[in-house]
Structures are given as structure tokens and as C-alpha cells.
Symmetry: C2
Subunit: 414 residues, 2 copies
């Protein structure tokens, strides 16, 4: 089975259009609203923040995904998160969905909402509605429309994030058909997803049963979006949604057959790519930080150990400083929680060409400082740890801790 990367994003699958506009929610001189619309109703699946303080649009989307299980449009804004806004925030969601539904000719209950930005302020409903009207008139299935939408949902992101793939599945009428899947996401700070991510939207023209769509999403999230961290802060707004409109003409996936396995692989590739892009674009980041833990006793322990290293402030600061202070990796493994024998593990630093052993036999090893500096100067800094306990592995992604992270977050509102 082959999953091929193709250009594009959310408008790559058949039947999906996108639009964006400058609604003036908070930012000036840039787009700040995006819309995705499918020409046919979609099976929908989602994962949401585990934060007890959930933003109003998260509560709205949970209702759509868990109760209605079908959707046809997504309306997103950047600048204001519509979180900690009480009943007023929920009213604004209802009114936005009502207005978008009426404008697009779909039910309000099939409109998904997303917000990202400052926690606290209320959304200006008039501007949101004006934005919806503008976007409804400029929807396009062009690749550029998807790209423009992925830019409109950015906050402190420095690059937009989109990814698309295609793959073959058995056709509904025999033979085989090409199925597409595309996605976009945003997120740079307050990134420590827990069963979800900041805002992520995946579209596909695959025909798949809604329960299996949710199952597929829930199976790929633990090793993709849940394995990244920028600052350890799990947002109030994290939302990841997948919409499947079935227009590819494949034989509908109704059980966990080979087509389902291919679909999961495609979904995994999109989610991993978007997740790594978010880690790489972490607020103020100058490096992508990757930690692979292998030969662990359990999958969960491998995940916990890998995330502990990429989440350590001291490891992050050392990567920023290109300082091979590898004891900090040991330290972060040691306080992660899972039990292990420090005398049995091995820690390596992997450059594009060279690999250095930092630690084995219970001791920090002597290494070539010049080589280490060279590897730590690469854009992606990759560490691994062989636990020598079993056959489970996991990889986590993060970024370095820089002056700019402090600058960005010391003065975010103004």
C-alpha cells in the first residue's frame, strides 16, 4: 500500500471548498477568518482538549461530533479564543452557526466552529457574521483557497501548516479509485495537546462509516498530536476534526478491513506531519527537537519518557544554546515516572551524518565537542534512548526555549 504526498491541503479532496477573509476580529491588515464547506454531508470525527476549562466552540463541536455525527461546514476565527466567556460565549456560537447555516443552506447543527486567540474577551458577533457572508461568496476548490485558509487561522505561528496525500482504494463499482486526504492546522504556543491539538482540520473524500472514522482518528492521535509539546500548557481550545464526504467513490469502509488500515496510515501521515510542523514552529523556536525512545517495556512508558525529554525546560534551553549538556536528558528521563535501570540505557545524539554516544554503562561518555556543536547547529536536533527493556517505541517532538518565547509570551495581549 502506498500513501503519496501531493500538493495542497483541505481543498485537495473532491467536493471541499475553502475561503477566508479579514474580518477585523483583533488583527489589522491580515486575514483572520476561514471557512471549509463540503458539497455533500460528511461523516465527522473529533478529539478535543482535556482541559476542564473548555472554550465555547469546543463545547459546540463536541455536541456536533458526538450527537449529530455529521457536518458540512467549518467556520474558524483567529484573535479571540471565545474561552472563559460563560453563557455569552455559547450564545455567540449558536448565533454564528445559525447565520452560517442559513447563508450556506445547511442546518446549524452541521456547522463546526473554531476559535483561537486571547482567552476572556467576547467575539464581535457582527464582524463574525459579516465575515461568514463574505466567505460564503468567495468559496473555491482551488488549492490556493486551502492555503489561504491555513494562513487565516494563524496566531503566533510563523508559517502556515498544510499537508495532503492520496492513495488507492477498491472502488464502489469495482476496480480502484484514488482517495484524497488533506489537512491544515495552527498552533505555536500553549501547545501540549492531550487527546487533541490546537486547531486542526482534515478533509477527505473517502467513504467511511462515522464510527470507524472516529476510531481511526482516536488511534492516530496518541502518537502524533499528543506527542508534541511547546510549553507544556494544554490549551482551552484544542480541537482536531476530520470530515469525510465520501465523494471519492470508493467502496465505503464499514469494517476494519485492509482499506481501513490504508486509511489509518494516510490519516497518521497527515497528523504526524501537521504535528511536527507545529512543534517546529513553536513560539520563538530556532530548532525542532526530537526524542525517540525505543526498546521500552510498554508503549505508554516510551511515550512518557520521550515527552518528558522534549518538555524539559533545561533540555530546551540547552538545544537553544547548542550546549551538549547531556546530563539534562538523563535527568528528564529519570523524573518522567517510568521505572528503569540507569546503568542499562544508552543515549545518542543523531546528526544528518554523525551519531554521538552521550551515555552508556551508567556514565556520561566523553565525546567530540566539535562534532556535537556541529550536530546541535542543525535545524532538527534528534536524540534517542535505547531502554534495553522490551520492544516498544515512541517519538516525541518539541522545540528549543528561546529569548523570543519569553518575549512573545511576556507581552501577548498588547
Amino acid at each position: 500500500m502506498k500513501i503519496c504526498k501531493v500538493p495542497g491541503g483541505v481543498t485537495t479532496p473532491k467536493g471541499f471548498k475553502a475561503a477566508c477573509c479579514a474580518a477585523g476580529i483583533k488583527y489589522k491588515g491580515r486575514t483572520d477568518m476561514a471557512m471549509i464547506v463540503s458539497s455533500a454531508p460528511c461523516a465527522v470525527a473529533g478529539t478535543f482538549t482535556t482541559n476542564k476549562v473548555k472554550a465555547a466552540p469546543v463545547l459546540w463541536d463536541m455536541d456536533v461530533v458526538y450527537k449529530n455525527r455529521t457536518a458540512q461546514a467549518v467556520v474558524v476565527n483567529a484573535g479571540i479564543a471565545n474561552a472563559a466567556t460563560g453563557k455569552t460565549g455559547l450564545d455567540i456560537c449558536q448565533k454564528t452557526a445559525d447565520f452560517a447555516g442559513a447563508t450556506l443552506g445547511v442546518t446549524a447543527g452541521s456547522v463546526l466552529l473554531g476559535s483561537t486567540g486571547v482567552i476572556g474577551p467576547n467575539l464581535p458577533l457582527d464582524r463574525i457574521q459579516a465575515g461568514v457572508k463574505t466567505m460564503a461568496g468567495t468559496l473555491s476548490d482551488a488549492m490556493e483557497a486551502g492555503t489561504a485558509a491555513s494562513k487565516a487561522i494563524m496566531t503566533t505561528d510563523t508559517v502556515n501548516k498544510e499537508f495532503a496525500v492520496e492513495f488507492e482504494l477498491p472502488g464502489a463499482d469495482g476496480g480502484s479509485v484514488t482517495v484524497h486526504m488533506g489537512g491544515m492546522s495552527k498552533g505555536s504556543g500553549m501547545i501540549h495537546p492531550n487527546m487533541c491539538t490546537m486547531l486542526g482540520y482534515v478533509t477527505t473524500d473517502c467513504a467511511i462509516d462515522q464510527a470507524l472514522l472516529q476510531k481511526a482518528l482516536s488511534s492516530v492521535v496518541p502518537d502524533t498530536f499528543n506527542m508534541i509539546t511547546v510549553d507544556g500548557d494544554t490549551s482551552t481550545n484544542d480541537t482536531l476534526l476530520v470530515l469525510a464526504n465520501g465523494m471519492a467513490g470508493n467502496a465505503p469502509i464499514a469494517d476494519m478491513n485492509e482499506s481501513y488500515a490504508i486509511f489509518c496510515e494516510a490519516l497518521f501521515s497527515i497528523c504526524r506531519d501537521l504535528a511536527v510542523k507545529m512543534a517546529e514552529d513553536g513560539e520563538g523556536a530556532t530548532h525542532l527537537l526530537e526524542m525517540r525512545v525505543y526498546n521500552a517495556d510498554t508503549k505508554e512508558n516510551a511515550r512518557t519518557l520521550a515527552k518528558s525529554v522534549v518538555g524539559s525546560s533545561l533540555v530546551k534551553a540547552m538545544v537553544f544554546g547548542k550546549d551538549a549538556n547531556c546530563g539534562r536528558i538523563l535527568c528528564a528521563l529519570g523524573y518522567a515516572g517510568p521505572d528503569f535501570d540507569p546503568s542499562k540505557i544508552e543515549v545518542h545524539l543523531h546528526g544528518e551524518k554523525d551519531t554521538l554516544c552521550f551515555y552508556e554503562n551508567g556514565c556520561i561518555q566523553a565525546f567530540d565537542e566539535e562534532k556535537a556543536l556541529k550536530i546541535l547547529s542543525e535545524k532538527a536536533v534528534r536524540f534517542s534512548c535505547n531502554m534495553n527493556m522490551g520492544d516498544q517505541e515512541a517519538t516525541a517532538w518539541g522545540c528549543d526555549l528561546t529569548y523570543d518565547y519569553v518575549k512573545i509570551n511576556g507581552d501577548y495581549r498588547t
Copy 2:
């Protein structure tokens, strides 16, 4: 019962002497070794890092505390942590204790060791032994000797940390006697103690049973040293030790009577003071950050919620930027873990004069930005959250996240 703060530190209790020297372990032009010696054998209690990667001196001290249960001297060095050093590190501990024991005329098994600094390198045994010899010749019970010792164990600390109290207990021969307790600690980065702290030493001339001494220490640590965080990184070397030599002449504390309660209160006051001083002196910090959670359903939930707020990178950066972006406090409470109803809680900011309500009835509240800026400009920034769920409370302490934290930790080794 009255616990009175008095000047001094580890040499304040009767029978304790201290010394320090410049052994040239790593730093130049400053002291980097300290020694505490009691003229009588002491009951000893300790708490140690929960990190799976424990430094050699931690393993050594655990043996002394859990097996021998008595000690008479402490030898500490700054600059090199003697962690991730395998069997060589343990050998150096044995040889240091042998040498110190012979020099001081006590058994090697009654010598406690402490190291703090870079993880990885081996300690230079010759300089350590030379330092021990020098210090043994300059031991003094003067207050200044304790202060000098507290300075010698600093690494990235900007101020030394010591504290002493005295209190009355029934005398062994009737009447009442004055009992003293003094402590010193160091720690500025890699601070997120878990059942322990970086390096902390408390001395007392109180006569108390060893098992009760350990019980008292274990009871005060969860609400003192375990409630501070600088960067979420639990060190490999965290060690907190209490030595009680019984020279005050009080009726020995052998059960959990009123004297035991007074002793616990005194120990709590020292541990809290040293812990808050460590948070306040967090690497690069310009503010102390305090979070009090009250009316929580359980003590453990109160602790978890309070620690989540002071540990949040985004809250820490906002305190540095004096930006009243209070949604981040809500966010950090929400992802902490404990369940609560966001519509029932209240969040306040407390200045020396004014108190501002940031959040209630499920909504961020409008507040006077000028007043908020004034309060956020105070050295100590204090938040509280009323959970409205029960009667349990906890307070956690941390510091802001600054450019200097990144600078200090981007380039620590060089």
C-alpha cells in the same frame, strides 16, 4: 506555642560547627565546599530525589539515613554533581567519607555527602580531600561560619539561603529549655522537588527520637519544598537532611506529644522559608510567584492545582511581562487534572494594598488595567483561587520566566 525567628543558620543550634573553603572543584575565586560537624552524634532524617537517575551522594546518604540512622558530619561541594558517574562516582563517595571520618575522628558511615553542579564529570578526589582537611582545621560555631557555608554551596543562586528559629520545650530535668533549629539550602534551576529538594540542611539541638524526626520531616515536606517549582525539572541530586544532636537538654521527644507538634511547627517554618527563598531566587527570576488554592475538595487536589499554575510557562512569562493575561491561570487550572466546575470558581490577584477579581461566574471579569499593572510590578505576585468545593487549601511558589533563565541555561557548562 511560639516559634521565634532568630539570626543565623546551621550553626545556631548548640554543638554545631561549620566551615568552608575554595577547593577549586570548578569555580575560580570563590568558596565551593562546605562542612557541618556536630560535637555529638545526631539522629538523622532525610528526603531524597524521586528521579530514577540518582546521583552517587544521594545513594550514599540514603544508606546513612535509612540504615545507620545516625550521623555527625556533612561534606558538600558545588560545581560538579557527581551524577551519571557510575561506579567511579560511588567509589569517590566512599573515599571522601573515609577521609573525612578519619580526619574528624568519626566513622565513615556517619559522614553525609552532598554534590551539586554539572551532571557527568567525575569529582577530583585529591581536591575534595584537600578541602576536607582545610575545613576540618577551621570549624567554627560562629554565626558567620554558617553563613559562609551557605554561600559556598551556591551554584546559579544569586543569594544564599539560611534561616533559624528558637522555641521552648519542657527540659529533661523539669522547667523549660530553649531549643534551636537552623537551616541552609541552595537551588535556583532544575527545581521541581518531588519528596525532597535540591540541597537543604537543617540542624537542631533538640533531643528527638530518629523515627519521629523522619516522620516530622516527611510531614512538612509536601507543603514546603514539594510546593515550589522553577522549571519543572526534578534534579538527580535533591537532598534534604535534618540532624538533631539533642544538646538543648529538652526532655527527649519520644512520642507524638505537644513537644512533637511544636517541633513540627518549627521545622515547617524553616522548610517553608528556605523553599520560598529558592523559588524567589529561581534562575533569572525577577518575581516571586505565589498561588493559593482554597476551598478545594481534597488537599492533594489543592496542591496539584496550585502547582500547575506556578509551573505554567505561559503564566510565568506573563508575570515577567507584567501582562494581566489572566486566561492563562484558568487554562493552567483546567489542565492540572482535578475535576471542577469552571462556572463556580473565583480567581483573584492580590497586591500589597489592592485585590482584583479576574474571574467569576464562568467569565473573565473587567478590571482596572492600571491597578493590575501596579500589582504585577510588585516583587511578589500573588494569585488565589476559591474552588468553592470544600475546605482544603494549599499554596505553591514559583518565579517568572525571563530572558535570563534562557541565557543561564543555554550556556551552563561553559
